[in-house]
């Protein structure tokens, strides 16, 4: 693969993450507004003590989704500034996208159906998403370190 192709792929990856990140921020901020409305109208399905698990799950989905969206935007910008290529970039990108879907999505689905103090089965996606996120962040941190001019 020549340098130009690598640069194009890197740019495509960056764009993908910036785009996915902002859409995720939009989606999960919208969820935040919905949650505010549920508070505003005192909707028992969300606020009653018996539904506290749902409330927790959706709050977590909102917070994690927004932050992971911003993380994807940061990843996209980081990729543009790093001379990073190859399988580790592809793996980090994939892991971050997986995490962006599975982690907040798992929290959200876990709150749709609840069993008293336990979330629904969606919660099983959360640890998978968390691991993917961890992997992506780890690879990015390593790449950032490797590309640090001061260390060269």
């Amino acid at each position: 693969m020549n340098n130009e192709t690598e640069a194009n792929e890197r740019e495509a990856t960056a764009r993908r993450h910036i785009m996915a990140g902002w859409w995720a921020v939009l989606l999960f901020l919208t969820l935040g507004i919905v949650l505010e409305l549920l508070h505003g109208f005192k909707v028992g399905w969300y606020l009653n003590v018996g539904n506290s698990t749902r409330r927790l799950m959706w709050t977590l989905a909102h917070a994690h989704g927004t932050l992971i969206g911003l993380l994807n935007v940061a990843f996209g910008l980081t990729v543009r500034h790093l001379n990073w290529q190859g399988r580790s970039l592809a793996l980090a990108s994939t892991a971050l996208l997986c995490g962006a879907i599975l982690l907040p999505g798992g929290f959200f689905l876990g709150g749709v159906v609840i069993y008293d103090g336990d979330p629904g089965l969606g919660i099983l996606l959360v640890p998978v998403g968390a691991f993917a996120l961890l992997l992506g962040i780890g690879l990015t941190a390593r790449a950032a370190t490797a590309n640090d001019p001061a260390r060269k």
Partner: protein, 649 residues
């Protein structure tokens, strides 16, 4: 596979999509496979960590002068249940079961402790709040030389109608009640004995050690009296109030095994019942009702020696056979009933009508046992406590929590639907059965088949023995029949005639008075204290006032303002305040009789001064001018049944 699982799987696959694309692009799929395996490994590790987390250790406070909470014998307390069952915890938390016994704090004490001074039978009580502490000072009004006794309130009982306050005796954990209680409806302090239907002249309650010996048995969870001597009481409970484990049994094992998330989710997916915890709502009608019957009962302990009981209390656990622990006294168990009737007549007399029907509140289980819907029901069609009641307010119940908590009825069970669950045939044309307007109180199954013939908490309550009204039973037992309890202005003859015509019930032999004078008047003027209390209540019951008119009630409620029984006087004044035209009046039901008499006389003069229709109202002892026929009134009053009645509610 249910919808939830499909969504989860769908999202999971979506989440793996980028991974799949990577794997396709990658020269080797090894990295992708490694990532998936590592992800699953991480998730598994996290779950294992959660499963190994140790339970929180609950440390109860250890004051030395009152009973304490100790989590032993597998009891873990409602705080532990709360984390996994927040909804059920929440509805229970708002129930009066929870607040049956509480440690005295500013949140739990509902009485007025703002330097209130109360005089009762030669004693003066000063109720005072100091910071977050509640103090009672008792002094002898006739002996000013005697030093007043000051005590800090430690526990409180009740939070629905009235509240009782317990103070330490100074001897280990032995408690005694303050002899005055706070009555919420009247917003005042009253002598404790005035809250019960007790014979006149009954001595003030002296109940030193009563909480340790008796009250803890039903007002707490897993009580252990630990009575080692008259002044040596180390009473412990798993939890004050009637908490989760009172009905579900000790939960330690349930908590332990369900720390494993795989167990929890697999049980749910398989819709498998959890056999580590009792669930009264899923038990048979017999077993489930026994859980309530552990306390809502009249019985004697069996299979326990006195020393076993004094140490460990009744060790019944929900799901067990209650009969192994308690001999249930009810007319259906004729031999035992008659044994007690012979051995201790007052035990039966204070709790049952003469035909064996329960007449006091809080003993609903015995009443249920003698109900045909329970005794002859089978399977799904056997009535149980849970046919009508729900210990947790169901989700989606539109009623305010306070309304549900009042009697913990299931939604819709405050009317005929409760009976029509099984009696569908009657429900198809309810008017044909009741002969009353379909939307009237006369077509509410409860009013005829569970009338207000039990007494407790200064009011009448519905009998929990499901029965059909007959005049014969009124003649035989003195218990008001449902017809005359609503049609207060009608005679027993009138009721018997209608029941004969509508249902073919044979008319009983009646006296002249029973044929000619409204039954309510006979029970009010001639009846015993129990009957008078029920009539005083009925005269304030809106459906009865609607059916019978209310302008004639005053002359019959007024004699009850000077009744020898505190409880009768209290109920009468409450009903009287609701009679149109009477309005507000100043009256102290535990005040001097002379003052009560003045109030009654003034209200009588006021009633006489107003015109009342008299024609056609002979059964109400009204003459043509609408005035009371004094001769008959006084004759009936002179025939009052003055036997001493003490109802053991």
């Amino acid at each position: 596979m249910d919808v939830e699982a499909i969504f989860v799987l769908g999202l999971f696959l979506l989440g793996l999509l980028p991974l799949a694309i990577l794997a396709q692009r990658a020269r080797s799929r090894f990295g992708a496979v490694l990532a998936v395996l590592a992800g699953l490994g991480t998730a598994g590790g996290l779950l294992a960590m959660v499963a190994r987390t140790k339970p929180p250790i609950m440390i109860a406070g250890v004051p030395t002068n009152r009973p304490i909470e100790v989590h032993e014998d597998g009891y873990v307390s409602s705080q532990t249940c709360r984390s996994c069952h927040p909804g059920n915890y929440d509805t229970w938390h708002d129930s009066y079961h929870r607040t049956m016994t509480q440690v005295a704090t500013p949140e739990t004490v509902k009485g007025n402790f703002s330097n209130q001074v109360v005089h009762v039978e030669g004693l003066t009580f000063r109720m005072e709040r100091i910071g977050d502490e509640f103090w009672v000072e008792a002094s002898n009004a006739t002996n000013s030389a005697a030093a007043p006794m000051r005590n800090r309130v430690t526990l409180v009982t009740g939070s629905h109608h009235m509240q009782v306050y317990w103070i330490p005796t100074g001897a280990t954990r032995k408690l005694e009640p303050v002899p005055i209680i706070y009555l919420f409806e009247a917003e005042r302090w009253i002598p404790r004995k005035a809250a019960f239907l007790l014979g006149p002249g009954a001595p003030p309650f002296v109940e030193v050690g009563r909480w340790n010996e008796t009250c803890n048995s039903c007002h707490t969870t897993r009580p252990r009296p630990r009575l080692f001597g008259p002044d040596e009481m180390d009473t412990r409970v798993a939890e004050f109030g009637i908490a989760c484990e009172a009905c579900h049994g000790p939960a330690e094992e349930h908590v332990r095994v369900n720390r494993d998330p795989l167990r929890r989710y697999s049980s749910r997916m398989a819709q498998r019942d959890d056999d580590t915890i009792a669930h009264p709502g899923k038990m048979s009608a017999v077993q489930g009702s026994q859980v309530c019957g552990r306390c809502h009962t009249i019985g004697h302990q069996t299979a326990l020696t006195a020393s076993e009981w004094k140490d460990d209390g009744v060790s019944y656990r929900p799901g067990e056979d209650l009969n192994k622990y308690v001999s249930l006294v009810h007319i259906g168990n004729k031999a035992l009933y008659e044994h007690w009737e012979e051995r201790q007549p007052s035990f039966i007399r204070d709790r049952f009508w003469s035909d064996g029907m329960v007449r006091v509140s809080g003993r609903e289980y015995n009443a249920l046992l003698d109900s045909p819907c329970y005794a002859h029901g089978t399977g799904e069609r056997q009535m149980s406590c849970f046919s009508c009641h729900a210990m947790h307010q169901p989700a989606g119940d539109p009623r305010p929590r306070s309304e549900w908590a009042n009697d913990q009825l299931k939604p819709g069970m405050d009317g005929s639907r409760a009976c029509l669950q099984c009696h569908e045939d009657i429900g198809r044309d309810i008017g044909a059965h009741t002969h009353h307007r379909v939307d009237s109180a006369g077509s509410n199954c409860y009013n005829c088949h569970m009338p207000y013939t039990t007494y407790g908490l200064l009011k009448a309550m519905r009998s929990h023995t499901v029965s059909s009204p007959t005049v014969q039973s009124s003649v035989d037992t003195g218990r008001p029949n449902a017809c005359n309890q609503c049609h207060l202005d009608k005679t027993m003859e009138w009721s018997a005639e209608h029941m004969h015509r509508w249902y073919g019930i044979e008319k009983p032999q009646l006296t002249d008075d029973q044929r000619e004078i409204a039954a309510s008047i006979l029970w009010t003027l001639k009846g015993d204290a129990g009957q008078r209390a029920l009539m005083a209540w009925s005269m304030g019951w809106e459906p009865a006032k609607e059916a019978s008119g209310s302008d004639w009630l005053t002359p019959y409620l007024l004699p009850l303002l000077v009744d020898p029984y505190d409880a009768v006087r209290y109920i009468a004044q409450r009903s009287l305040r609701g009679v149109p035209g009477v309005g507000e009046f100043s009256y102290d039901f535990v005040g001097p009789e002379s003052e009560q008499r003045v109030v009654a006389q003034r209200l009588m003069v006021q009633w006489r001064s107003r015109p009342h229709p008299g024609e056609g109202r002979a059964a109400l002892l009204l003459d043509a001018k609408g005035q009371i026929r004094q001769d008959i009134f006084l004759r009936l009053f002179a025939e009052r049944d003055n036997k001493v009645v003490s109802l053991a509610e």
